[in-house]
């Protein structure tokens, strides 16, 4: 069974299951369009639904991520991803996630400081 995202103004407003051959014939008078999405694609990788491991045939990977309500559909890049969290972050077009301009420090709790363009340690909680 295939999945389709209902997209309006570049935003996913619903995700449905439907057969590809019927999607063009649906009598849907509400605004928006249906864009196919893959239930088993995350971060640009298609995963075998049986094993949870990356599929041998990565041509099945479709549009970056399985669409979720509230996500962005980028028509130019033809991919689904989350909205940009900070102005300085850039979209990795292989993994389809936003990356900070400064590499994450690693273990520990850090918050991104957009004004100063750095990760700031937050020691108010345990770090392990």
């Amino acid at each position: 069974m295939a999945h389709f995202a209902k997209v309006l103004d570049g935003k996913v407003i619903n995700v449905i299951v439907a057969e590809p051959e019927v999607i063009q014939n649906l009598v849907d008078t509400s605004p928006g369009e249906y864009i196919q999405t893959s239930y088993n694609t995350r971060g640009g990788v298609h995963y075998d639904p049986e094993t949870g491991e990356p599929s041998a045939d990565q041509t099945k990977a479709l549009r970056g991520n399985y669409a979720g309500k509230g996500m962005v559909y980028d028509r130019i890049l033809d991919a689904f991803y989350y909205a940009q969290p900070y102005d300085s972050w850039t979209l990795n077009q292989s993994t389809w996630v936003w990356e900070a301009p400064v590499e994450h420090p690693g273990d520990g709790n850090y918050l991104w400081d957009e004004e100063n363009q750095q990760w700031v340690a937050d020691d108010s909680q345990p770090t392990e």
Binding site: I16, V22, R42, G52, N65, V97, W98, H104
Partner: protein
């Protein structure tokens, strides 16, 4: 008075035949006032209605083969001696492939009648001994009739118990079934199930009335786990898809069942929501996506289940489960509290909250019971609702279980709720499971990790729309 006596020669010819007009002016009492000891029968003139005498005299009597009765002329009209039934109207439909009921309104019918179905003058079937009460008879359309082609005209008449046929008939056209989804029968009741989005087309011949429904949305995705920080927390379970029904004893969120609906002739979009995804990326910090909404045309909509909260520290979209049909479970409780997502009234329940002493996660809300709060163990998903709307018992709408913690709490993932709720992941050993397909179950949450690593829970299960009605 003149003598009316005649000789034999005046009456009978040589060959024995009676001479024409020989009996004219015979005294009527000679033939009318005599006893008849014959055990045979008196032959009457016989003919169709069209063959009646053109200028009848009062008292003329004959057998009418058209109406099946002896009849006499009363000086004004022909009067049948049998009851001649009439079929005043037929209500109900003849629908391809299913045995519907027809109700005949009758006049002059006997206590039981035979109902005759014809097409193009040929009898397709006769249903015998149909009871008549207060001028009304209900008959189930036999297979030889409902097996005819859509658009064919079926002519319906009755015979009284003495064989007297009705003086008229009524015609009914064979109608088509609604299309879309999969149609099964539960006795004489139609069950139309949509496991994916399709058009429902109700033929122009009729509306669907008193339609029972189950409209179940997709379950929310289980909470994931991001690399951005606190990695020991389990992810919350996804909430079940919104559960709205008119059938059975209970609808979602422990509410009463809703009223049945009417679906008019025409085309209606039946939307089946997909399961919500589960993510582990740094952007969203791993909250599961809400499930897709399901709907029955513009009549009603059920909301997708809320996504389970991420097990990450300080996620941008919060530690609470997502709101939805049922709410997603909360996560990341150590030192801070977080509430489960809020379920929608009439559709589902709330997700489970966190406990500030542990890094366990809450369960996703189920259709009928809330997700369990996290304690030293992660919370189980709430349970779904047991329904027999298809004729078989199925539980749908279970919430996903919370993922186990890697520290400060049990590492064991919690079970999903009955009705397709996915199991939460153990922190190190066992993967979570997805919500049940077409059960609207929430996905299980990710388990906590011993190191900085992105982990995902499991996606929610897709929803379903089921209609139950008679025609």
């Amino acid at each position: 008075m003149a003598s009316k006596s005649k000789t034999v020669a005046e009456l009978i010819e040589v060959d024995g035949d009676i001479i024409v007009n020989a009996l004219d002016n015979v005294d009527p009492s000679f033939v009318s006032d005599k006893s008849n000891s014959s055990t045979g029968a008196l032959g009457l003139p016989t003919g169709t209605t069209a063959q009646r005498p053109g200028s009848p005299e009062t008292g003329y009597t004959r057998y009418n083969t058209t109406v099946g009765s002896v009849e006499f002329y009363n000086g004004t009209t022909w009067v049948a001696t049998n009851l001649i039934p009439t079929v005043d109207s037929v209500s109900g439909l003849i629908v391809e492939t299913i045995a519907t009921d027809l109700t005949l309104s009758l006049t002059n019918a006997t206590d039981t009648v035979d109902v005759v179905f014809k097409e193009s003058g040929s009898i397709l079937a006769t249903v015998t001994d149909v009871s008549v009460s207060s001028g009304s008879a209900t008959v189930t359309v036999p297979s030889a009739v409902y097996g005819q082609t859509v658009g064919d005209t079926i002519v319906i008449s009755v015979n009284n118990v003495d064989g007297t046929p009705s003086s008229n008939s009524q015609s009914v056209t064979v109608a088509s079934l609604p299309t879309g989804g999969t149609i099964t029968m539960d006795g004489s009741t139609i069950v139309q199930s949509f496991t994916s989005t399709e058009n429902l087309v109700v033929p122009s011949d009729y509306n669907l009335t008193n339609v029972h429904f189950l409209c179940l949305a997709g379950g929310g995705g289980g909470g994931g786990h991001s690399a951005n920080g606190y990695y020991n927390d389990g992810g919350g379970g996804g909430g079940a898809g919104g559960y709205r029904t008119s059938y059975g004893s209970q609808s979602g969120g422990n509410s009463s069942v809703e009223s049945t609906i009417t679906i008019s002739s025409g085309t209606h979009l039946i939307t089946v929501g997909g399961g919500g995804a589960s993510y582990g990326d740094t952007t969203n910090n791993g909250r599961g996506a809400n499930g897709g909404d399901s709907s029955i045309g513009s009549i009603l909509t059920s909301l997708g289940g809320g996504g389970g909260a991420t097990g990450a520290w300080n996620p941008p979209i919060g530690k609470s489960g997502g709101n939805g049909g049922s709410g997603g479970g909360a996560a990341n409780g150590l030192g801070t509290s977080a509430a489960g997502g809020t379920g929608t009234s009439g559709q589902g329940t709330n997700g489970g909250a966190t406990d500030t002493s542990y890094q366990t996660a809450g369960g996703g809300g189920g259709a009928i019971s809330t997700g369990a709060n996290a304690s030293s163990s992660s919370g189980s998903g709430g349970n779904g609702i047991n329904t027999e709307i298809t004729g078989s018992t199925v539980i749908r709408g279970g919430g996903g279980g919370g993922g186990g913690a890697n520290a400060n709490g049990s590492q064991t993932g919690a079970d999903g709720g009955s009705g397709g709720g996915g199991r939460g992941s153990d922190s190190a050993t066992q993967n979570s499971t997805a919500g049940g397909t077409n059960l609207g179950g929430g996905g299980g949450g990710a388990g906590g990790s011993s190191s900085v690593v992105e982990k995902i829970g499991s996606a929610g299960g897709s929803g379903v729309v089921i209609l139950r009605y008679t025609i």
